[in-house]
Every structure is written in structure tokens, then in C-alpha cells.
């Protein structure tokens, strides 16, 4: 049985399943339980996007913890809890706030297993809202997953739809290593099919969501939908596109990328992050390094420009990748 749900609800469902199934799972974050100055459980906000709404009533204040507005304290406490046997799920309201809690992630969470000879586990999940598209301006709209993807010891995943969000979040919570779970703004309130019950989507595996053969469109998070829209328009012109949803940015499913490249010889990667040192560049480098003899055309990157995210609605629309930008890039390859 499955039905359509918005991604934010699918995330709430995954949290409920994880909490019910494992007493070590706890939630921590700003307004995840109560909200404002009200006592926990009386008028819960459920986090900035309402994903945790209702959980305080089911699981109580021992497991659903409101924290002060101090991401440093929040992450520091969560890393400590994870190192000492709990399985915390933290809500970092926007990924833009990564800077204020970087040390617990970069130097503690990411290093424990390595520095203790593999004997330490750090089963921490950080849920965080990423990306532009909601007119939230330069400090609440960034796609910074390229930073966490570049740190050995952290895993980073990003779903493209509600059903994947549920399965990927369950995998992240049950993983014994720290996982950054990105929630792209543009898909949070889009509905798609969500299977009932408990299921996991493996971390580190990409998903071929459309079969073509002429060109490969590689997306992640919100850009998978953009790739799919571009692919259906291209089909009318007679160009059949493979669309690959990366799902996991670190580890990266190199085999899936090289497989689709081998099939088509032409690859475009679509990333709503800025172009320098990013996932798009990484995928392009992989293609040139390990897939050189497969290339029948240059690898193209469709990304945001190298600029802060603009607040103006018009400029923000111009800033983001669009199906037309993808189609234009495809036309350069034939």
C-alpha cells in the first residue's frame, strides 16, 4: 500500500517509525517539541517546517528535546549523546547555520571512529533544510552539502522526493556513523508516493529514475525534478535522456555514474549549489578521470552562479537551474 504525501510528512513518518522501533533514538532541536516559551507538549510547532509535529505527545519530553538557540550547544550535546550510546536525530534549522556548529561535526563526530581505532560509534543524524526557492535570502537558502561531503567521516544524503526521504532518513538514523540528511526546500511540500511501513533506502547508491540512452542527466535533491522535466521535453525532440538521482553525495555512487556515462557518452550534472569545489565539479572530475574514454562530448555542469542566493523573487528564479538551462546545455552536446 502506498499513497501520496508531502516530503515533510514523510520525514515525520520516518521519525515516528525510528522512535517507536528503538528506545535509543532521541530528537533534539529548536522548537521540535514545544516552541517559544510555552511548556513542551502544550502547543508544539514541530520544528521550522512542522516535520516533528505531534511526536512530543507520543514519545514525551525525555526523547523529544527542545534546545536553546545555540547550534554549538545542540550539536555538542548530540555528539556526546551519540558517543555514549544514544542515537540522536538533530534538527539544524537551516544548513546555513553549519558555521556555528562546525567543530562538533568536523573535528568530533567525523573523527571519533577513526581516532579510537574503529571502536567508537557515532550514530548521529543531522536533518537540515537546504537550498533556495522560498525567497529566504542569502543566509537561509544555501546548498552547503558540498562542505560536509568533503569531510572524511561524515556521510551526506539528499532525497529528491517524499518516498526516498522516508527510506533514506530511516537508513541515516540506523547508520552507526554521522549522517547529514539534507531536506531541499523545493521538495518539502511537494507530494509524491510514499510506501507504508518501515523500509530503508541504502546510503551510497544512486537511483536511475528514467531510462534514455542519448544523454545522462545527473541530479540531486530538487534538481532531479528539473532533470526529469527537461528529459520529457527533450523526448519530444527525439533525445532520450537517462536521469540519475544521486541520493547519496558521500559516499558517491561512482559505478552508477560511470555506467550511465558508458551508455550515453554525454553527461550533464545539475546542482543548485554554487559551482566551485562542488558536487557537480566532483562528478565531472570523476567522468574525466575514470571515464575519459567513454566521453563523446564535454561534461556540462548546470549550477547556480558563483554568488550568494538573491532575495528578489525574480533574481532567485534566474539564479536556480531550470529545465530550459538543462535543455540548452544538452543542445551544446549534439
Amino acid at each position: 500500500m502506498s499513497r501520496e504525501l508531502p516530503t515533510a510528512f514523510a520525514i515525520g513518518e520516518a521519525l515516528r517509525i525510528a522512535l517507536a522501533g528503538d528506545p535509543d533514538v532521541i530528537l533534539m532541536g529548536e522548537d521540535v517539541a514545544g516552541g517559544g516559551t510555552r511548556p513542551a507538549g502544550t502547543d508544539e510547532a514541530g520544528g521550522i517546517l512542522g516535520a516533528t509535529r505531534g511526536l512530543i505527545k507520543e514519545f514525551g519530553p525525555e526523547r523529544i528535546l527542545d534546545t536553546p538557540i545555540s547550534e554549538m550547544a545542540l550539536l555538542g550535546a548530540a555528539v556526546g549523546a551519540a558517543a555514549t550510546g544514544m542515537r540522536p536525530v538533530v534538527e539544524l534549522m537551516f544548513m546555513d547555520f553549519l558555521g556555528v556548529c562546525f567543530d562538533p561535526l568536523l573535528n568530533q563526530a567525523a573523527k571519533f571512529r577513526y581516532m579510537f581505532g574503529g571502536k567508537a560509534r557515532l550514530p548521529l543524524t543531522v536533518r537540515t533544510v537546504t537550498g533556495a526557492g522560498m525567497h529566504a535570502a542569502a543566509q537561509h537558502s544555501q546548498s552547503l552539502y558540498w562542505i560536509t561531503s568533503g569531510i572524511p567521516g561524515l556521510k551526506t544524503v539528499i532525497p529528491s522526493n517524499a518516498g526516498d526521504a522516508k527510506g533514506l532518513l530511516l537508513s541515516a538514523i540506523r547508520c552507526d556513523d554521522p549522517v547529514i540528511f539534507c531536506e531541499p526546500k523545493q521538495i518539502l511540500f511537494l507530494s509524491s508516493e510514499v510506501p507504508e511501513g518501515d523500509y530503508e533506502i541504502p546510503i551510497g547508491k544512486a537511483n536511475l529514475v528514467r531510462q534514455g540512452g542519448d544523454v545522462s542527466l545527473v541530479g540531486m535533491g530538487a534538481t532531479v525534478n528539473i532533470a526529469l522535466q527537461a528529459a520529457s521535453q527533450l523526448a519530444q525532440e527525439g533525445i532520450q535522456a537517462d536521469v540519475l538521482d544521486l541520493r547519496s553525495l558521500q559516499p558517491l555512487d561512482e559505478e552508477a555514474i560511470l555506467t550511465t556515462l558508458g551508455k550515453t557518452g554525454r553527461l550533464i550534472v545539475i546542482d543548485e549549489a554554487t559551482p566551485r569545489c562542488g558536487i557537480a565539479s566532483d562528478v565531472a572530475a570523476l567522468c574525466v578521470d575514470k571515464g575519459f574514454d567513454l566521453l563523446n562530448a564535454p561534461v556540462k555542469r548546470v549550477t547556480a552562479p558563483f554568488s550568494p542566493v538573491p532575495f528578489s523573487r525574480v533574481l532567485e528564479e534566474a539564479y536556480l537551474p531550470t529545465p530550459q538551462k538543462v535543455i540548452d546545455a544538452v543542445h551544446e552536446l549534439f
Binding site: 521535453q233 525532440e237 533525445i239 557518452g265 567513454l294 566521453l295 562530448a297 549534439f334
Partner: protein, 427 residues
């Protein structure tokens, strides 16, 4: 054999040059490396060496004449008494601004930029290089159909298969012949500047009942492209006759239809039935202008630009109003147009011009059962029964909402018409 001496392009900025001196008199022998002509450009005199030995047979530009780069200056022939037609040679070789031609080396001490250094490095996709290595193909010889002329994997694949398709039609000239299907032979002759891919929908359908024989004329695809003279329509017809052991059904489009007409007149025993798609016997001024523009764009711009420039001439308003269809057509045209080099286009164009008007009075001698198919929206050749009514018993079909590129634009209609015609004349 005659060799052209042309005004060289000695650097990017050079547009024209003036003839200063012909050191050798007419009729005298010039050895390879001798100074055949001295020219002046941008206040600098440059001595031009002969690239081949020969007799200075004809001078087209006298001393003090100023002409654009690429313009024919003189002709050298192997011997003093061999047959030589100065006007015909000019038609085939008077190619101003021919960037594809390698300019002779400047022998003087004056600095001159080698024309080769102006050319960008040839782009080859890594996948194409890898496949070329695997097949043992010299990738430098493969024509590129990708953006900016990049050689793609598909280009190497096609090139790798060419050897098994080459058939000798006369001494030293081999044509590429693509065969598909079993049955009575059905010969397809593509139009000006395109390869057999322009018949792709017809090949797919007709190969079920016939042996479809696609022939690439001189200068198209992997067929040989002799470096002298024009590619005359009569020669093309003789080439086809040499390839046909038995009478065949002949289908030609545009210039291919001209070749088919020539074949039906000069070699009637080879023709079982005739299908003329958008034929012409007297080329219109517009057709000739488009052919000239085609040659020029092919030598100066990318194949993609050429395809886009041709689109409004080859297709009807109906097709042009569908943006996705146009994208699809341009992409399909690119490899087909890339199959013909700029110099081969010019030699073919010269052949087309020379043939135009030469057979108008002979059409009533065609005895093969003939079908003519034209597009009602064709801008380049007749869009009515002008050709059909001059051939005894010919059937004429006018396809609505179609332009000149009928085999692409009205693919199914054309396929069906050919199939019906073949069925009616296969007994």
C-alpha cells in the same frame, strides 16, 4: 591532369592580392619549387612556389590584376599537349576564399604566416579516440559531425565500416555503397550535399521487400573525392551504371534526381523504374543561390550553422512552426551534411551548374515508368507537374505542407508512393 595556382591567403588579415609578375612564360615548363608567380599583399611582395611540376598552360589573372584570396590565377598541366578546357577548369576551380585549400608555401624571405597555423586544433571526443585505437582507424582522417566539427564515436564507427562498403566504379575511383535488405535492387541517390541518411525512413521501410542500395556519389561520405575538375552529373550517372549489374529501380532526390534522369537517358538498360523526388532540369536562380550559399557557409561556419541556415530553404512553413521538430531535423541533418567536405561541395555545385538546362529537350526520351513527387511548398524546385508532364506517362504526386526535403518532411508519404510505384512496375 591540371593543377590550379590560386591566390594564397598568407595570414588571417589578407583578403586579396595583386599579381606582380609571372616569371615563366605561357607554355613553359615549371618545376616543383620554382617561383611560379610573385604577388603583392599589404605592401609586401611574396614569391609563390609551384607545388607541382607542370606546363604553365593558362593564365587567368594578368600582371597588376588584384583578386580575392583563393581566386584561380593559372593552370599547370602535366604536358603541353594534353586536352585542357580553360573555361571548364575555371568553373571547377575558381573558388575564392577557399580556406580548405592549402596555400602554396611562400618562398621569399618575407615573413608569411603559414595558413595551417591559423586552423584550430581538430577536436576529437575521447570516446572517438578510444574507439579509433581499438579499430585501428586513423582518427585524423575521420570527418567530424559534432559541435564545431568534433569527431564523435559515431563518426569513427561509420568510418570504420567504410572499407567494406567501397566499390571501384572507374580507375582509381571508389564509391561507398550501403546495402540493406533482400530482393530486387532499389538504388537511392541522395540530393546535393547530403548522404544516404536523408533517405533513412525510406531505407527502413523498403528494405523489407527490396535490396536497398544507397550510393554515395563522389565526394560524399567515404566515397573518393578526386581533387581535380567538377563532379559532372554525367560522370555520376556513369558511376551508377558501373555499379548496377542488372536493371534497378532508381530513386533520386533533387540533384540525385538529376543523376537519375541522366542515367535513364544515357544508360536506359540499367533503369527498371524511375522515381524523381523534387527534380529539376533547369535550376532556378534561387536554387543556384542557395547552392552557392551552402558552399560558402560550409567552408566558413560550423555544420550546425549550415543546418540552421538551410532549414528555411528545405522545409515548409508547416514544419518550421514546430520548434521541437526543427531541433530534431537539425540534429538529423548535421551528420548528413558533415558527410560532404567544402571542396567536394564546390565541385558538385559546378557539376550541377554545368548540367542545368542541358537535358530539357531530352525528357520525352525517357522510357522507364516514372513517378515524380514534389512538395507544394518547395522553394527550390518545381512545386507542380512541370517536370512530370514532359515525361511520357509519368505520374505526378504533389505533397501538401511540404518543402524541398521531402524524404524527411513527408517521409511516410514518400515511402508509400515509392512502394506503390515499385509494386506497379515489378512484374
Amino acid at each position: 591532369m591540371a593543377t590550379p595556382v590560386a591566390m594564397p591567403r598568407l595570414g588571417m588579415s589578407m583578403k586579396e592580392g595583386r599579381v606582380v609578375e609571372w616569371p615563366f612564360g605561357l607554355g613553359t615548363h615549371v618545376a616543383k619549387g620554382d617561383i611560379v608567380v610573385i604577388i603583392e599583399s599589404e605592401k609586401t611582395e611574396v614569391q609563390i612556389e609551384a607545388t607541382q611540376s607542370g606546363v604553365l598552360r593558362h593564365i587567368y589573372v594578368q600582371v597588376d590584376g588584384t583578386v580575392p584570396c583563393g581566386k584561380l590565377l593559372a593552370a599547370l598541366t602535366d604536358s603541353a599537349d594534353e586536352a585542357f578546357d580553360a573555361d571548364a577548369f575555371r568553373t571547377a576551380n575558381d573558388l575564392p576564399d577557399d580556406q580548405a585549400r592549402t596555400a602554396p608555401r611562400a618562398a621569399s624571405q618575407h615573413p608569411a604566416v603559414s595558413p595551417k597555423s591559423d586552423l584550430p586544433r581538430r577536436a576529437v571526443a575521447p570516446a572517438a579516440r578510444a574507439l579509433a585505437r581499438q579499430l585501428g582507424v586513423d582518427v585524423e582522417q575521420v570527418p567530424g559531425s559534432g559541435p564545431g566539427g568534433r569527431v564523435t564515436k559515431e563518426d569513427v564507427e561509420a568510418w570504420g565500416k567504410r572499407a567494406e562498403r567501397l566499390v571501384e566504379v572507374s580507375a582509381g575511383v571508389r564509391l561507398e555503397v550501403l546495402r540493406d535488405g533482400q530482393g530486387d535492387p532499389l538504388v537511392l541517390l541522395p540530393g546535393f550535399g547530403t548522404d544516404i541518411a536523408s533517405f533513412a525512413p525510406q531505407v527502413r521501410a523498403l528494405a523489407a521487400t527490396h535490396q536497398v542500395v544507397g550510393i554515395h556519389p563522389r565526394g560524399v561520405g567515404a566515397s573518393d573525392a578526386p581533387q581535380a575538375g567538377c563532379y559532372a552529373v554525367a560522370t555520376a550517372a556513369a558511376d551508377i551504371a558501373a555499379l548496377c549489374d542488372a536493371p534497378a529501380h532508381i530513386v533520386g532526390a533533387s540533384l540525385g534526381a538529376a543523376v537519375a534522369i541522366e542515367l535513364a537517358l544515357a544508360h536506359p538498360q540499367k533503369v527498371r523504374s524511375l522515381t524523381l523526388i523534387t527534380p529539376f532540369v533547369e535550376a532556378s536562380a534561387r536554387l543556384l543561390a542557395v547552392v552557392d550559399a551552402w558552399c560558402r557557409i560550409a567552408s566558413e561556419a560550423s555544420i550546425q550553422t549550415l543546418a540552421m541556415a538551410l532549414l528555411p530553404w528545405l522545409f515548409s512553413e508547416h514544419t518550421l512552426s514546430d520548434e521541437a521538430a526543427c531541433q530534431r531535423i537539425v540534429r538529423g541533418l548535421v551528420p548528413s551534411l558533415a558527410a560532404v567536405s567544402a571542396p567536394a561541395l564546390r565541385r558538385t555545385a559546378a557539376g550541377l551548374r554545368a548540367w542545368s538546362g542541358s537535358r530539357g529537350a531530352d525528357l520525352d526520351r525517357i522510357s522507364a515508368p516514372t513517378l515524380v513527387i514534389v512538395g507544394a511548398g518547395d522553394l527550390l524546385t518545381a512545386n507542380d507537374d512541370a517536370v512530370a508532364k514532359r515525361i511520357a506517362g509519368a505520374r505526378n504526386i504533389v505533397v501538401e505542407q511540404s518543402g524541398h526535403a521531402l524524404t524527411i518532411e513527408a517521409a511516410d508519404r514518400v515511402t508509400q508512393a515509392i512502394a506503390d510505384h515499385l509494386r506497379a512496375h515489378s512484374a
